[in-house]
Amino acid sequence: MKAAWRELLRKLRAATARERAGLALVAAVAALAAALAAFDWALGAGQEARDGAARRADAAAVFTLESSRVFQERLAAETNKVWRWSIVETSEGVALAQAVAALEGLAAQAGLGDVLVTADDLAPREDGAVSSLSLTLNADFDWAGFLRLLQAMEASDLSVTPEAVEVSTIPDEAARLTMSVRAPFLREAPQP
């Protein structure tokens, strides 16, 4: 190593100023590239450090919040509402049947005629998460019945969210209502 270093120094001393200037220029370009790369890396590392600090602050804030007894009680109360407002079943099929029955019940309660409720496909969700059941209601339309249906939906324990409403009252044709709704579905773990 020492010999190689000595040899390099000897060669450098033997080189002309022009050759040494060329070598120094190459070194300068390499140093420039290294400085730019280091700057870029430092910039990225700085961003990562800031993101990490933000994540730590978020985690600390969440920890403080979730440690609060009052917050835990509030969460429990809100979660109970979610369970009460959702259809809780072990399979989608049963849940859909239950949702169709509930919506038909609401339409009947509102006094709508010629009611037809169809279930759409279940939106795919991960197990344990809240899924959405999509249903479509077709019925004869009149304003009073429609308003009663909305009131019944509002008063219902099941959370039913209207997604789309279509009303046709063309003269000489029967007035029809088509309403697409969503209902939350919680998959219950099957009993052993």
Binding site: T16, A17, R18, R20, A21, A24, L25, A27, A28, A31, L32, A34, A35, A37, A38, W41, A42, G44, A45, G46, E48, A49, D51, G52, A53, R55, R56, A59, A60, V62, F63, E66, S67, Q72, L75, A76, E78, T79, V82, W85, A129, V130, S131, S132, L150, S159, T161, P162, E163, A164, V165, E166, V167, S168, T169, I170, P171, S180, R182, P184
Partner: protein
């Protein structure tokens, strides 16, 4: 001694003047020179290079360098070339004589003491640290200068005056009284210096300095990056410790699960309020006495077919009223395929989002 008894000026505290004898003259008389070293006028020779006014600065520089090299009066000549209104001032000194007792580093900054005197105009005689210097100045530039060990005699003065070609000022018949001025501490003449041309050695120095500076910069950035990485690792460790303490605490774990369930429920029920948008639109229609034959409201927008022709209703006002509702935007009326009917379409504005129908329109 010329018959004149004049007190010789002293150099300033920070300057040392290298005398003809090889010793230094300074305020404290130190033998070892420190600070700037001036050359006694006795060691220097002056010459003016008269350049044609048409020559460019680069041409003058090249010409004066060649001229100074060709007319070097010593075997080993020290040279200082300065730009002047008349061309260039050339100062020479014997490098071999000056280098005795002067460090190699100080040798590169040597300058004649005459350059540290106030500029003049016309004819004058200066009392130097040793001897006397006769000068002729014209248009702010030194044209001629000569040195004598003793005060100038009339003959010496006449010889000097006759040596100056085309002098604008008439020389006095007798030598003027020598002026005793202090040495200036600043070196304004450095701005006029004609430096040697750049060499490959200069290029090598510049490139090596550049490489060195950039390497330092790169090292600084690497240091910063390492520091930031350590910060990020420390943050990740602390975050993991918090998550671990949440995971190991049943009450906190339950709270997290419940919070996630609530978030999932909210996201499952999220969406634009189509029903409220429809109620708003129908209320506007009622306000203008218009009846909707059919209407549809969903997440993307509101669409209605009105049983009215374009001449029956104040369409512009209806559109403006619909636009004024909180959820509807981008209202567009269209003629229906059916006679006596009009179609109206509007987009739904979700909370915090701009109207999708307005995007891409000219302002």
């Amino acid at each position: 001694m010329g018959g004149i008894n004049l007190k010789q000026p002293k150099a300033s505290q920070s300057m040392r003047v290298l005398l003809e004898s090889g010793t230094f003259a300074g305020a404290d008389g130190d033998a070892q020179p420190v600070g700037a070293i001036l050359l006694s006028r006795a060691l220097c020779r002056f010459s003016l290079y008269r350049a044609s006014p048409e020559l460019s600065r680069a041409h003058i520089a090249r010409a004066v360098r060649t001229h100074a090299e060709a007319n070097a009066p010593f075997v080993e000549t020290g040279t200082l070339l300065l730009r002047s209104p008349h061309g260039a001032e050339m100062w020479y000194w014997d490098k071999a004589q000056a280098s005795a007792g002067v460090s190699p580093k100080a040798l590169t900054t040597l300058a004649p003491e005459s350059l540290f005197r106030e500029a003049g105009e016309g004819w004058r005689i200066l009392a130097c640290v040793e001897g006397f210097e006769a000068q002729y100045w014209q248009e702010g530039g030194l044209v001629a200068s000569t040195w004598r060990r003793h005060a100038f005699t009339r003959e010496q003065w006449i010889a000097f005056a006759l040596g100056v070609e085309a002098a604008a000022h008439e020389p006095p018949d007798t030598p003027p009284a020598p002026t005793n001025t202090r040495l200036l501490t600043h070196a304004l003449w450095r701005g006029r210096e004609i430096k040697p041309p750049l060499t490959w050695r200069d290029a090598e120095t510049a490139a090596a300095s550049f490489a060195l500076c950039l390497s330092g910069l790169a090292a600084f950035f690497v240091g910063q990056g390492l520091h930031f990485e350590e910060d990020a690792r420390a943050s990740a460790r602390e975050t993991a410790a918090i998550e671990e303490s949440i995971a190991s605490n049943p009450a906190l774990r339950r709270a997290r699960e419940r919070a996630e369930l609530l978030l999932a429920f909210n996201s499952a029920n999220a969406g634009a309020d189509a029903l409220t948008a429809a109620a708003d639109a129908l209320s506007v229609f009622k306000q203008f006495g218009v009846e909707a034959e059919s209407w549809r409201a969903d997440q993307s927008g509101f669409h209605a077919i009105l049983s009215a022709s374009i001449s029956d209703i104040p369409l512009r006002d209806v559109v403006a009223a619909l636009e004024a509702t909180p959820l509807l935007c981008g209202v567009e009326p269209n003629l229906s395929s059916r006679e006596g009917a009009l179609e109206l379409s509007a987009a739904l504005e979700t909370a915090g989002a701009t109207c999708a129908a307005d995007r891409g329109r000219a302002p």
